[in-house]
């Protein structure tokens, strides 16, 4: 079986990191690549979305948004078995929100197989980033004494962080640029934003491999529950995505991506938002699970697995 080169780059980074190689990508490059990827995903989605009637997409978008609110509510009681209220709430936010890179790998996987998917999945990606963060903060703050110093930022600042975080601005901005400029307008930019997407993704995943390798050490102190949760949660949550995708009448490719979105855990937007909103929560716990376990699991096993699931259901 031929392996996806995108995944191989991730494995290279992972192995280099585990072997303590001195390989390190400059953080400025990492920042640049993430800006590029977010814009490119947005533009691609916007171009496709331009072909769709808006009113047809709207009810779908609302259902997906609802899924974003429900997932953290389902995850929270499970995590509460083991973790404190704030830790369980913060982790629920991570698992309810989505990973853009995981989504990008899913898109690359489908395109390699020649399987098409609905254009609105990019919109779903944007929509799924936010709700879980809000639910996570509410879960963390329920019953807590708000007056205490250092118990996190107020809602105004928080919503600003959640709604105007870098990933939302770039994804949404790209989407609008693609939508407004149309295929003809974007044509001169094709080479950069469409053709170079996969090569850039490989570089990004090389760095992600290094980062994930760095998380393994910290995870060892957390015990078996976190490992179980990091693998069990995406497996269970993927079925919610499959259910919703099926309900929306998406194709196999679309269902696969929605399953992947439901299964993926945020490790950029969620950690930043949770750190501001719920500073009492241990960031190493959520980030360790989302990035150290769930991200590699989804990348290596999840993507092809959810594709299989989507096939069975179809």
């Amino acid at each position: 079986m031929q392996m996806d080169p995108v995944v191989l780059f991730f494995l290279l980074g992972l192995l280099a990191g585990l072997a303590k190689s001195d390989l390190k990508l400059p953080s400025a490059l990492y920042d640049t690549l993430s800006v590029f990827l977010l814009l490119a995903i947005g533009i691609k989605g916007g171009l496709e979305l331009a072909k769709q009637p808006f009113l047809q997409v709207l009810p779908q978008a609302l259902l997906v948004l609802a899924m974003g609110f429900v997932i953290p509510l389902l995850v929270y009681p499970v995590l509460r078995l083991k973790f404190s209220q704030v830790d369980a709430a913060s982790m629920s936010a991570h698992y309810g929100s989505v990973s853009v890179v995981t989504y990008a790998v899913g898109v690359a996987y489908l395109s390699r197989l020649g399987v098409s998917h609905e254009s609105q999945t990019t919109l779903f990606l944007v929509l799924l980033e936010m709700p879980a963060l809000i639910v996570g903060v509410i879960l963390a703050r329920q019953g807590a004494n708000q007056a205490g110093k250092g118990s996190g930022h107020g809602w105004g600042k928080l919503l600003h962080e959640v709604l105007l975080g870098k990933s939302i601005v770039l994804l949404m901005g790209g989407l609008l640029i693609g939508l407004l400029a149309g295929p003809e307008g974007i044509k001169p930019l094709d080479r950069l934003y469409l053709d170079l997407f996969k090569p850039v993704l490989t570089l990004f995943l090389l760095e992600m491999g290094l980062v994930v390798a760095g998380k393994f050490g910290a995870l060892r102190q957390q015990g078996w529950f976190i490992l179980l949760a990091g693998i069990g949660l995406p497996l269970c949550l993927s079925w919610i995505g499959i259910g919703v995708g099926h309900l929306l009448g998406l194709s196999v490719g679309g269902v696969t991506l929605l399953a992947l979105l439901a299964a993926s855990a945020s490790y950029i937007a969620a950690p930043a938002a949770m750190r501001m909103a719920v500073p009492q929560a241990n960031p190493a716990l959520s980030l360790g699970a989302a990035l150290g376990i769930t991200f590699p699991f989804n990348l290596l096993i999840g993507v092809p697995l959810y594709y299989q699931f989507a096939h069975w259901v179809a």
């Binding site: 250092g150 950690p271 009492q280 960031p283």
Partner: protein, 100 residues
């Protein structure tokens, strides 16, 4: 030329507090400050600077001893409990006393 004694407050903390701290500096009428990205290791684990939420900054500002002490105490109360935060004061000598 004559040197004047002032206090320098150095703050090492999480990058996501930058906007909050700058707002506080403005409110406390601090005249200027310098912020740099920082890497290192401490009680909150290793900060490799490769991740948005995992970045540290180091801030330096010069003020009168009373102002610097009050500011440090305020920051400690507000953020010390849950965020990675280390602060220290040092005595420095500056040429233009009226600048700080």
């Amino acid at each position: 030329m004559q040197f004047h004694s002032k206090s320098m407050l150095t703050i090492v903390t999480e990058a996501l507090l930058e906007n909050d701290l700058v707002e506080l500096f403005e409110a406390r009428k601090i005249r200027g400050w310098t912020i740099v990205a920082a890497r290192g290791k401490g009680a909150h684990g290793e900060k490799r600077g490769s991740f948005d939420a995992n970045e540290n900054i180091q801030i330096e500002l010069i003020a009168s001893t009373a102002t610097a002490e009050a500011l440090a105490e305020e920051i400690q109360l507000e953020y010390g409990q849950h965020y990675a935060l280390v602060q220290w004061l040092s005595e420095v000598r500056v040429l233009r006393a009226d600048k700080f």
